[in-house]
Amino acid sequence: MYNPRYIIDVLADNIRKTRNPFGAGNGTVNKWWKGVNLRTEGDAMLYTGLMYQLMPYIKKTTKQIEKFEDTTLADYVGLQKYVPKVMVKSAFVFMASRKDKEYFGGILRNIVKLLERSGVDFFYRPKLDYYSGILLYDLGDLQGFIEHAKFVAGKLKEKGIRKVITVDPHTTYALKVLYPKYTGINFEVKTYFERLNFKGNGYGKQVTLHDPCFYGRYLELSDVPARILDEFGIENVKVRNSGKFTGCCGGPAESISPALTKEILSRRYADLKETGKPIVAMCPICLGNLIKAGADVQDLSALLADCA
């Protein structure tokens, strides 16, 4: 594994400077909305937290750092070499493949479609769509997280944002649980799937839902996607461990130990494979990992958009 100390320092530094863990400008990363006709005023703000957008970069970075983990070189050629400010400014933004960027952007565009179909009064302002800072929290840099969270929450508050619609579990957890606790600022946070109100047609389809830890356990939201599938006529062939008892995809360890991630991912994937059905994920990290494992997996939004 990599020394968490270096990694935390790099990430914290990046976020402090660029509001983004990879040190890339948000504008550089967040481009999916271009060409999508989105309002900038409305009842609730779509708040992606940039997690989907960052996936192509995470994927690339992980590939790099995997090579050196647990080698004697690790400490010297560790993550800092691949995500330092130098790289950010130069080649980093081009590291991610265009295909990946298109894929993850597509997910967000699907979500927009689903919200529109549900007649949800929402808007999007790319400039206000900040990374939540969750990774700092997860890694133990509470101070760094609070600073960042205060900044983000302050911006949103300043612009009068009260209601947000989130698209991934990590951002949802940050805004719903951590922000009120550490910034004192409360938002009305709903995930996009909690706002869906139409019944699509997916009769005959069978899938297996992979609940992310944060939805399954911390936020206890797993029953919502399950119910939506049911309403769509899609059968959820239950994996042995789901809901509160769901298994981790290994994602959270990625920046510290890709090897560990791999091990845990392979176990979860074995679990999921037992049903023999296509897998549906609802967290960008789970999705990315399952893709990496070679799974037949798609994002929940993609499935729902297909059946809308």
Partner: protein
């Protein structure tokens, strides 16, 4: 609808071992007692057990004499298959509205010959046998049931008419209606007992879906002489198990399952079952996974020490999770503690969940008796008068007032009978004084 009213000195709610003991202790003092039991037979959980700790005498040998004594006692009247609809009143005049569910068999005519049962073509999983074997759609609840009266399960009846045809006493009555009647009593004792923690609450333990993971009461049936297989077999395929494990605190002392209290009997019954198993399956490996062994009662610690001496393995560590293993095996995940410990998995042929106790009855909506945070009936003077509830003239005994073993239950039933008889005596004195 006009309802029949019957008068008694005492009403006993529940005909398990606590209720029977309380009824007998009152009846022996010449008080008139009514027992209202929700099941089709009296005997409660105890009559369904195999043998009981720490003496290892058979449960039936202890229960049947008390059942028979109550059934034949001139001062006791037993009403089975009855639900209490309401219990009202106070100060020596309690009115219970009772609804007797239809058996579709005339209780006075049925002679318990079981001809109906033999001839009925419908097999239904028998909950009395853990669902491991069938009963029929018309049946006597179990071999030593009292009364030996058949009842019909209309859900599974095809109305083929065979039972009626073969019944020698024309006791089958397809049209029987529920019967509502009133019991007036001066005092009441709640002996409503317990149920096992529902399996569905245990995500980690497979929610009852993993083959060969059974409940402790199911294990009682496998060990009992009238059990479904007449021996211990694993239910998935009839194999005689070579290794059996018990998981302690599977539904007790666990806030993640919403039950923080200790169920008090599970350690001992698991040790007992393990001992009986090592008799039935001398070659099998038997392990008990535990946090603390709570062998606190008279003779219990010695019983536990004997079990260790017999070679039963006691493994300190709460099982975290159960998975289905290969070929019908059950895989446990736990942390072995101590020097050479670590996270371990172990495969067993049969796994018993030592489930805890939850109350079988909630008085809310039926009477004003309160319950505690643990949902068991609240007692207001637990130290000096442990059977007093907050409803005047109403007492409680046994597992209705918290998990309890049989010995403590029987003693407490006696105590409740004492309180009830004192209450009756005080009423008599008041009446005398008023006259």
């Amino acid at each position: 609808m006009s309802t029949e009213t019957m008068k008694f000195d005492a009403l006993i709610l529940g005909g398990g071992i606590a209720g029977l003991q309380a009824a007998l202790d009152l009846a022996d003092q010449d008080f008139k007692v009514a027992i209202v039991e929700k099941d089709a037979s009296i005997g409660g959980k105890m009559i369904r057990l195999s043998k009981v700790f720490p003496t290892l005498d058979c449960a039936s040998c202890i229960t049947t004499p008390k059942m028979a004594a109550a059934a034949h006692h001139e001062n006791v009247k037993i009403f089975t298959y009855c639900d209490l609809e309401s219990l009202e009143g106070t100060g020596g005049k309690l009115t219970a509205s009772v609804r007797q569910k239809p058996r579709f068999v005339d209780e006075d005519k049925c002679i318990g010959c079981r001809q109906c049962e033999y001839n009925c073509p419908v097999m239904v999983s028998d909950p009395e046998q853990g669902g491991f074997s069938a009963r029929k759609a018309i049946y006597i609840p179990f071999s030593n049931a009292i009364p030996q009266t058949a009842l019909m399960d209309v859900e599974n009846c095809t109305l083929c008419g065979k039972c009626s045809k073969v019944c020698p006493t024309e006791a089958v009555d397809y049209f029987q209606e529920p019967r509502i009647f009133t019991i007036e009593a001066k005092t009441a004792v709640m002996t409503t007992g317990f149920e096992l923690t529902p399996l569905e609450n245990k995500v980690q333990y497979g929610e009852g879906k993993i083959p060969n993971v059974i409940t402790s009461l199911e294990m009682e049936r496998l060990l009992a002489p009238h059990g479904p297989y007449n021996r211990v077999l694993r239910p998935s395929d009839g194999m005689e198990p070579d290794s059996v494990a018990f998981i302690q605190c599977a539904g007790s002392r666990d806030k993640s399952m919403g039950i923080s209290y200790c169920s008090r009997v599970c350690c001992m019954y698991a040790i007992k079952q393990a001992m009986l198993l090592s008799g039935a399956l001398p070659l099998a490996d038997i392990a008990i996974y535990y946090m603390d062994i709570r062998a606190f009662g008279k003779g219990y610690e010695q019983f536990f020490q004997n079990a260790m001496a017999m070679g039963i393995a006691f493994i300190k560590g709460k099982v975290a999770r159960i998975d289905a293993g290969e070929g019908g095996a059950v895989r446990l995940h736990y942390e072995a503690q101590g020097e050479d410990g670590g996270v371990r998995t172990a495969d067993h042929d049969l796994v018993v969940l030592s489930l805890g106790m939850v109350p079988a009855w909630n008085p809310a909506g039926t009477c004003t008796v309160s319950t505690g945070d643990d949902a068991f009936i609240k007692t207001i003077r637990p130290k000096v008068a442990p059977t007093l509830t907050d409803m005047e003239g109403v007492f409680v005994a046994g597992a209705a007032a918290g998990p309890k073993d049989i010995v403590d239950t029987i003693v407490e039933a006696g105590a409740a009978a004492m309180e009830a008889s004192k209450y009756l005596a005080s009423l008599a004195r008041t009446v005398k004084a008023a006259a």
